[in-house]
Every structure is written in structure tokens, then in C-alpha cells.
């Protein structure tokens, strides 16, 4: 078992800061959502931050990332701009998609996010295709696709694993197994919950990790990304985790009977941010003062960007007819 000390100090710090950024980014949404001005169905990531942080730390800006309906954390970890995300969720012209995509479809081509699909499983073949492009063009870029346990039931997941294995593509499949698809528990959808087992059928290396342990995700992702980058082909990582909020929106879904409250509480006790914070405090990577300082800086920045986004102008109505097609060749 690799130790925390096997993670370079600057990476430890970045892991923690990324998780913190995601957590607070989402909590700011929770705070303002009730105002009903952010009119976009937000699928919050709170509770799963270690996965995005641990995976994306290994990626370069030019590497590709394909996400899902639950995209915020992934985008932030990959380096997407906070303001342009918030503005997008508010449906503003300055949003990363000019207000046309909303929370489910962010893009940030400048950091390898070429667009996001909210069709479950839909992004998996897209990432595989981006990896094919990278390989055929000899670019050395890695493509990562993050998706849920539900997505692993879609045929497109298997079709992608098969093709990626066949062509030894530089793609990392990361399944965030949070044991639910909307309110449907995994045992109503799959015969068991060890999703990583499907990789063997394709001869793809796989790892099952504690998705609430940023270090565990970090090590598994490092291996997978390095393998992809050196031409060793695809990998599958199953990160077992849990979302704290409801499937969509800022409330908790145990309140309406979707899940047992106790289950949520057990997982909250294993908060990925809190756990990693404690470890970094112990290791001396962090001090209480660091924490307070970073938290404050992050919150000030997020509040500022959110306000800017909220008060930025909506798109002109003529935008409805634009961009149906690519405008220049």
C-alpha cells in the first residue's frame, strides 16, 4: 500500500485545495439556489470530491475529460473557470456555452473539456474517440471519462471498453460508484456492485478504490494515466463513493424517502475532504491557519464570481437561432 508520503508535497496540497474548491463551489450553489434565479437542474457532487481531485491531478491541460450530468466537480478539477461555469448555470451570455448548455453541458475546450453530455453513458464512447484521435495524431494526450454506476449498465460502456482494449487507446475509464442512479439502488439494477469486474472480460487492468480517500484515487489514477500515456492502453477505475445531496437540486433525498438517513450519515462520517484534511494536518502539510486562510480566500473568490455571474447579462434572443450549425469552416 502506497503511503501519503509517496505523494509529492505540492500534489498533496493541490488535492486538498481542489476538493475544497469543489465543496465550496457546490455549497455556494446550495446557498443561492432557493432564490430560483439559477434556473438549471444542478446535480451536486458534494461527497464525491476525492474522485475528481485524485484523477485530474494527473492530467495536463491538453488531456481530454468527458463528464456527465454531474459535472461541476470534474470541470473544476480539470481547471475550468469558476465564473464561466456559474454564468452558464445562470443561463448568461458569458457562460462557458453562452447560456445554451446550462449545468448539464459545460465545456471548456481550453482545458480539454470538449463539451458534456447528460445522456447517461453517452460520454464514454466520446472519450474513447478522443483517445483514438490522440493516438492516430500521435499527440500523446490522455482521455478520461468519469461516469456513474448507472452508466456502467449502458451498452455504450461495454462497446467502449471493447474498442479501447482492441486498439490499446490512451483512455482511463473512471466509474464513480455511488450506489444509486437517481433514487434507484444498485441492487435493483445490477447483480452485484463490483463494477470493476467487467474489465477482465476485455483484459483491461482494473482497480477498485475507496472513492472517499483522495490518496487511494490518486495512486490508482496515477498508474492508469501513466499507462495510457506510455501507450499501455486503457484502464478501469471503480471509485466507491456516495453523494450527499439528492440526485438533482440542493436538498437531501432521504427527506423524501429516497434513501435511509442513516446510510447518508455513515457516509458523511467518511467525508473525503474532512478525512484528507485530518491526514494533512497530521502529516504537517497543513495547519489550522492554512485551512482558515484558504477557505476564506476560496469563499471570497467564489462569492465574487457567483455575484458577477448572476448579474451578467442574458443572451440576446437571436441566440436561439445561432450555433445550430458550425458557423465557419
Amino acid at each position: 500500500m502506497p503511503q501519503l508520503s509517496d505523494i509529492p508535497p505540492q500534489d498533496r496540497r493541490r488535492l486538498w485545495e481542489t476538493m475544497l474548491l469543489i465543496r465550496r463551489f457546490e455549497e455556494h450553489i446550495v446557498d443561492v439556489y432557493g432564490q430560483q434565479e439559477m434556473q438549471s437542474p444542478v446535480h451536486l457532487y458534494i461527497g464525491q470530491e476525492a474522485v475528481a481531485a485524485g484523477v485530474c491531478l494527473h492530467l495536463r491541460p491538453e488531456d481530454y475529460l468527458f463528464s456527465t450530468h454531474r459535472s461541476h466537480g470534474h470541470c473544476l478539477a480539470k481547471g475550468a473557470d469558476v465564473f464561466s461555469l456559474y454564468a452558464e448555470f445562470y443561463g448568461r451570455a458569458a457562460g462557458c456555452c453562452r447560456g445554451k448548455g446550462g449545468s448539464m453541458h459545460p465545456c471548456a475546450p481550453e482545458v480539454g473539456i470538449l463539451g458534456t453530455t447528460a445522456i447517461v453513458g453517452g460520454g464514454i464512447p466520446l472519450a474513447t474517440g478522443a483517445a483514438l484521435a490522440s493516438k492516430l495524431l500521435g499527440q500523446g494526450r490522455v482521455a478520461v471519462t468519469l461516469f456513474g454506476d448507472g452508466a456502467s449498465e449502458e451498452g455504450a460502456f461495454h462497446e467502449s471498453l471493447n474498442f479501447a482494449a482492441l486498439k490499446a487507446l490512451p483512455v482511463v475509464f473512471v466509474c464513480e460508484n455511488n450506489f444509486y442512479a437517481t433514487a434507484s439502488p444498485i441492487h435493483q439494477r445490477q447483480p452485484h456492485d463490483d463494477i470493476f469486474r467487467h474489465a477482465a472480460g476485455y483484459g483491461i487492468p482494473a482497480a477498485q478504490v475507496d472513492g472517499n480517500d483522495a490518496a487511494a484515487v490518486y495512486f490508482a489514477a496515477r498508474e492508469a494515466v501513466q499507462r495510457a500515456r506510455r501507450g499501455g492502453g486503457p484502464s478501469l477505475i471503480e471509485a466507491r463513493t456516495y453523494r450527499w445531496k439528492g440526485h438533482v437540486g440542493p436538498s437531501c433525498d432521504w427527506e423524501n424517502g429516497c434513501r435511509p438517513k442513516q446510510e447518508l450519515e455513515q457516509w458523511m462520517d467518511r467525508c473525503p475532504l474532512e478525512r484528507f484534511t485530518q491526514r494533512l494536518l497530521q502529516s504537517g502539510d497543513l495547519t489550522e491557519q492554512d485551512i482558515r486562510g484558504t477557505l476564506e480566500r476560496t469563499d471570497v473568490m467564489l462569492a465574487r464570481e457567483l455575484e458577477r455571474a448572476k448579474h451578467s447579462p442574458p443572451p440576446a434572443s437571436s441566440e436561439v437561432w445561432r450555433h445550430v450549425f458550425h458557423e465557419t469552416k
Partner: protein
């Protein structure tokens, strides 16, 4: 007729029909009642779909059914729309009568292979020896930034697929009667619902009844122009009619209810009377249901129109997320009224 009326809430209903001792249900409740009846009445009926048994209960339209009939008959399924549609078809071939439910139209493209290549063609390919008694319910999403992949209305696509029937109820009464008829029909029936009709209230008899799959209904008598309105647009057309009435314009409203088969005699009869036609649909413009209706009018009653037909529907663009853009994207009663004005001006 009380069952042709739509109300936006119970209070409105009480005002208009409550005095007659009629029972009101919401569109959502009417769906629940139809399915409850079907499950009770026929052990072969089975509901399948992602989340049919969960607290959300498909926007409430399957509420309580899993509790009453168990999870074998109100069955949550994996996220695998094409495969699971195939499973439903296979089950239908082997004696069940599945009702497969999608929360959104947008997931139908995932199962086009099973719908187009299998369900629609099975009776024909087997020379009529094996049929597919399958209903596919799917709901049109709209608003709150649902955007391009969560607010499509795709009934128009299926018009071009022989072997499927297409239903688009606009009232609680029709939701119940058409769903029962669809499940009994013995053919694959695409059943399109619009999220925004779910709260509508209307008269719904407690007993089981069927609304035939080939009969439209005249929702309003009028003499100056005909609006053929589909699904959610029926209510917008009624609003437009009320506004136009104040101006002295008398609108006739036809709700085809089923798009395949399409009740052309009813449409042609109305057009012969009014000489003006507006078609209001909840889908994108090009290649949709409106084109087929307009084309048939041109083929079968070429002289009937005094002014060019006008289509009121969505732009030929995916749905934008921003609320600001949604306002422009979606036509409403106002757009219908404008279209009517145009036909009056031009003819």
C-alpha cells in the same frame, strides 16, 4: 361535453363542473388510475422503467403502484434503454403486456433500434402471426434549463415508422381512456405525454373506459379558423381562442389525440368549414407532424384553404438552456393567436 374541458386546477374545475357532481382528476392521477386498473384487470400487464417504483414515481404518474402490486409488476430497470426495450418486446411476444416508461422523450433515441427495427416490424415480418402488445410512455420535459437533451418532443419522428401507433393526450380524460386503449390494442403504441399537462384537472369517470386510437375530438366549435393542436398545445389553443373571441374571432380547435392513425376526416371537415388552418405542435418545425397534416390537407382538400396554412412550433434548433432563450424558443397562446391573425389577414 364535460370531458373535453381542461382546467388548470381543481378550483377552476369546481367552478365550471363541480356543480354537476362530476369527479375531477389531474392528468397525473388519471394516468395512475388507468395503470392501476390495467394492473388489476390483467395479470399480464407490467410496468417497467427507470424509477417507476421510487418516491418520485415518474412525476407522480406511477404513485402507489409499486406498493399495491409489488416490484415484479412495477419494475425498476437498469439504465439500458435499448436492451430493456428489447426485453419488454420479448416479454410482449411471450405473453406479457408491458408498459415501458421513460421520464423523458430524449431517451427514446437510445432504443430506436428495438422500436423501429423490432417492435414496429414484428407483426409484418411474421406475416401477422406474432404481435407486440407494448405501450411506451414517454414524457416531454420543458423549462428550468432542461436544455437540449432533456426537453425534446420526438413524436414526429415516429410518424415515419410504419407499424407504430402514436398517441398524444391533452386532457386527463383522454390520458386515462387512451392509455387503457393503448394497452389493449395489441400493437406497439408510443404514448407521448407533456410534463406541463400533468397538473391539469378535468372530468374523469371512475370506471374504466377506452378512447379509441383513431378519433380526434373537436375541443371548441368555431367558424373563422381551425387550429389543430397537439398535446400541450391544446390548452394554449384554448387560451388563444378565448383571447380571440374578445376580438370577435371564432376559433375551432381540433385535438387529434392520436397522431397515427390520424383522424383526417375530422380535420378536413373543420377546414372545409373555416377555410383557415393553423397547426400547433410542441416539437421542432421541419419534418414534424404539422408537415404531414398540411400535406394531407393539400392532397385531399386542395381548394379548402382561403389562406396559407401556418405552423406554430419550435425553431429548428436544439433547446437552449437559458431561461431567457427558452422564452423565445417556446411558442404559446400568443403565438397561436398571431398565426390565426396571419391566416385571417392573408386569406
Amino acid at each position: 361535453m364535460p370531458w373535453t374541458k381542461i382546467f388548470s386546477n381543481q378550483a377552476e374545475f369546481d367552478l365550471a363542473l363541480g356543480g354537476q357532481g362530476l369527479r375531477a382528476l389531474s392528468f397525473r392521477e388519471a394516468l395512475v388510475e388507468a395503470q392501476r386498473f390495467l394492473l388489476q384487470d390483467d395479470p399480464r400487464v407490467l410496468l417497467m422503467g427507470e424509477g417507476v417504483d421510487d418516491p418520485g414515481a415518474i412525476f407522480g404518474s406511477t404513485a402507489g403502484l409499486a406498493q399495491s402490486f409489488g416490484k415484479d409488476r412495477v419494475m425498476d430497470v437498469p439504465l439500458a434503454e435499448n436492451g430493456m426495450t428489447g426485453v419488454a418486446i420479448g416479454a410482449a411476444l411471450a405473453g406479457l403486456r408491458p408498459i415501458f416508461i421513460h421520464m423523458r422523450n430524449d431517451f427514446l433515441p437510445m432504443c430506436m433500434d428495438q422500436l423501429i427495427n423490432h417492435a414496429a416490424k414484428w407483426s409484418y415480418m411474421t406475416g401477422g402471426r406474432v404481435n407486440v402488445p407494448l405501450v411506451v410512455r414517454s414524457i416531454v420535459g420543458r423549462g428550468w434549463g432542461s436544455a437540449a437533451q432533456h426537453s425534446q418532443a420526438l413524436h414526429g419522428l415516429f410518424l415515419h415508422v410504419p407499424g407504430l401507433k402514436i398517441v398524444a393526450p391533452a386532457t386527463p380524460y383522454d390520458a386515462k381512456g387512451l392509455l387503457i386503449a393503448a394497452s389493449r390494442d395489441g400493437n406497439p403504441v408510443m404514448f407521448f405525454e407533456h410534463r406541463w399537462t400533468f397538473d391539469y384537472v378535468g372530468y374523469v369517470p371512475a370506471e374504466a373506459y377506452q378512447v379509441p386510437l383513431d378519433q380526434g375530438v373537436r375541443r371548441r366549435q368555431g367558424s373563422d379558423a381551425t387550429v389543430v393542436a397537439i398535446g400541450w398545445m391544446v390548452n394554449e389553443a384554448l387560451k388563444a381562442a378565448a383571447a380571440l373571441e374578445a376580438e370577435g374571432v371564432s376559433l375551432e380547435i381540433i385535438d387529434p389525440r392520436t397522431l397515427l392513425p390520424l383522424d383526417m376526416p375530422l380535420i378536413l371537415e373543420s377546414v372545409a368549414k373555416t377555410g383557415r388552418l393553423v397547426i400547433a405542435d410542441t416539437a421542432c418545425h421541419t419534418g414534424g407532424t404539422g408537415a404531414e397534416i398540411a400535406c394531407r390537407v393539400a392532397e385531399w382538400s386542395p381548394g379548402a384553404l382561403k389562406a396559407p396554412v401556418v405552423r406554430v412550433d419550435f425553431p429548428d434548433a436544439p433547446t437552449p438552456a437559458s431561461t431567457a432563450l427558452e422564452k423565445t424558443y417556446y411558442p404559446d397562446a400568443e403565438a397561436i393567436a398571431q398565426a390565426v391573425h396571419r391566416t385571417l389577414r392573408e386569406g
